[in-house]
Amino acid sequence: MSARTLFDKVWEQHEVTRREDGTTLLYIDRHFLHEGSFHAFAALQMAQRTVRRPDATFACADHYVPTQNQRKGLEGIENAEIRNMVRLLHEHTDRFGIRRFGLQDPGQGIVHVVGPEQGLTQPGLTIVCGDSHTSTHGAFGALAFGIGASEVAHVLATQCLWQIRPKTLQILAEGQLSPGVTSKDLILYVIHRIGAAGAVGHSIEFAGSTIENLSMEARMTLCNMAIEAGGRAGMIAPDDKTFEYLKGRPFAPHGDAWDAAVSHWRSLSTDPGARFDRQARIDASDVAPMVTWGTSPEDAAPIDGTVPDPRSLEAPDRKARFERVLDYMGLEPNRPLEGLPVDRVFIGSCTNSRIEDLRVVAQIVDGHQARIPAWVVPGSLEVQRQAEAEGLHEVFMRANLEWRDPGCSMCLGINGDTIAPFERCASTSNRNFEGRQGKLGRTHLMSPAMAAVAAITGELTDIRKKA
């Protein structure tokens, strides 16, 4: 058999049937749900259909849960519409016998944090969720992608999806990331280079020595934002780090099954000489700590750079877009990014809310005082417990950071955690779209380290000068 990529292998292992035109009925191993899935349940019930594989379906309460006083449960949610969203998830999962990491479940958290943490996310699986950041799970060598509500209903009913085989893009990163530079900076750099639509129609595989050296948490951050480059999925070949991470997790295989699983997982890497439709090479030493200045994740620049000048652009449409973006962001062209005052800090989201992220933040803020409101929102109850066991919460509280309960929170603000109009927020989340964190809010994306240092200086700060 000819040399195949990781993607090829996983795809081909899930083909139920293929039409003459190439469209494939793809089998889905794991299906994750969240509160937003109520639309799909409504469609399912209207069509009088049922859930084919409740045992392969898992639900998390994350988008609408409060990040304060979560212990109070449903009754603690004041807004009736928001409360109803969480309640509907509980009702639907009860009705169809779906395992739920719901409010007050010890495994509750953001779906893309919980899946890996519970060992549900495994190499070689197909994983879907009605959420674009499902690409996160590709960090384990799974083929994982986001779908819309009609597709969620389709997977609930059939456990399959009709898919057109995407093209493949290999991003080969070689070398060592410099001190102060993280996988968040690497992915912002990649998106800046290839563009927010640069990988549309492609499944990305991240490979090379830089990637091999990343922890599982850092790999998740990378794959999480594959979608921000337009990628259908982001994948990384499983290796010993992957297996080490999974071992002993509740849904990971145990005993003899573990050994069988590992030998299967080892067979999934891209064969030498396998062909990709496209390739891009990154030299890790070129990557600096990055921040975004605009309203697309591709609007990123090194922290020691400046806000771009629309006048320097030739294409009238690009120029018009830049002008509009700078107006929205309240920024002057050519202004240095360093030193830009920020009003608040959000450390959280499925991109950067894992234990490793919180350890970095604690290390930076320890012994300092936040000058501006700064929230730390753990990705899950498990992360919260671990952080508290390590005493990180005390470091945060001493530094005047607000330590909250797990959920999506200020990443998109639909639980009510929003930033105010015109507020400038240093955020570890994944999207700086207009109004994403709150109407007229101004988001600057960056790594947890950069967000932490911004909290104590009150302005965008080069972590390399502070660390």
Partner: protein
């Protein structure tokens, strides 16, 4: 059953914005509403309405000359970002008085992948044309507001206001489903036997996923 898409001849409205993400098409705060309230009222909400809820007169979709438009000509990376299908429901809704006439076709140089799928799952045809062709169409629609475009799905052709023809690609599977207004779940159900056969093969490859061995029956 979805409304079948064959050939349409409709007013088209240009939208001069790049990278329109689905958060802008429908802000997240509306997604907790059931679809039955009519999602058209939320379409481009923060672009269409000012802080007092008054329509912004400069926004193209608020201009009288484009009233009744059922084709949208947009720019690169339209519908990027969040997977929310509410974006397509908002664009295609005809039930709410504040909705558009219900977009049936969106033309752009490129689309977010998930948005593209969501369109075809709702009977909306996404058409990819080159950036220069899209720019030409947008300029023509700007210069002669209220002009119509013809979109012929069987022939895979868009006809501009000047009669110029632009051919486009669409995969045969989506084309057929749009033409027939076919329900995808019913179609998949006809492959029941293949799905069951796959499941039993799959169980032998990854037995640890279904430890009790009978979970899928």
């Amino acid at each position: 059953m979805l409304e079948k898409f064959v050939t349409i001849d409709e007013i088209a409205v240009p939208l001069e914005l790049q990278d329109v993400d689905t958060d802008r098409i429908i802000p997240a705060r509306f997604l907790r509403k059931p679809r039955t309230v009519g999602y058209g009222q939320f379409m481009f909400y923060d672009l269409r309405f000012d802080d007092d809820g008054q329509p912004r007169s400069e926004f193209p979709l608020n201009r009288d000359v484009y009233r009744g438009a059922r084709i949208l000509v947009a720019d690169v990376n339209f519908g990027c970002g969040s997977s929310r299908e509410g974006a397509v429901w908002a664009l295609s809704d005809t039930t709410h008085p504040d909705s558009s006439a219900g977009f049936r076709c969106i033309i752009a140089p490129s689309f977010g992948d998930i948005f593209y799928n969501n369109c075809t799952n709702n009977g909306v045809l996404p058409v990819r044309l080159g950036p220069a062709d899209c720019a030409t169409l947008r300029r023509q629609l700007e210069e002669a507001p209220g002009a119509r475009l013809q979109v012929d799905l069987p022939k895979q052709v868009v006809r501009g206001p000047d009669g110029r023809q632009y051919s486009f690609d669409i995969d045969p599977f989506r084309k057929q489903r749009l033409l027939e207004g076919q329900d995808e779940i019913s179609l998949t159900m006809t492959h029941q036997a293949a799905i069951e056969a796959f499941e039993s093969r799959r169980r032998s490859v990854v037995p640890w996923l279904t430890p009790d061995g009978e979970a899928s029956s």
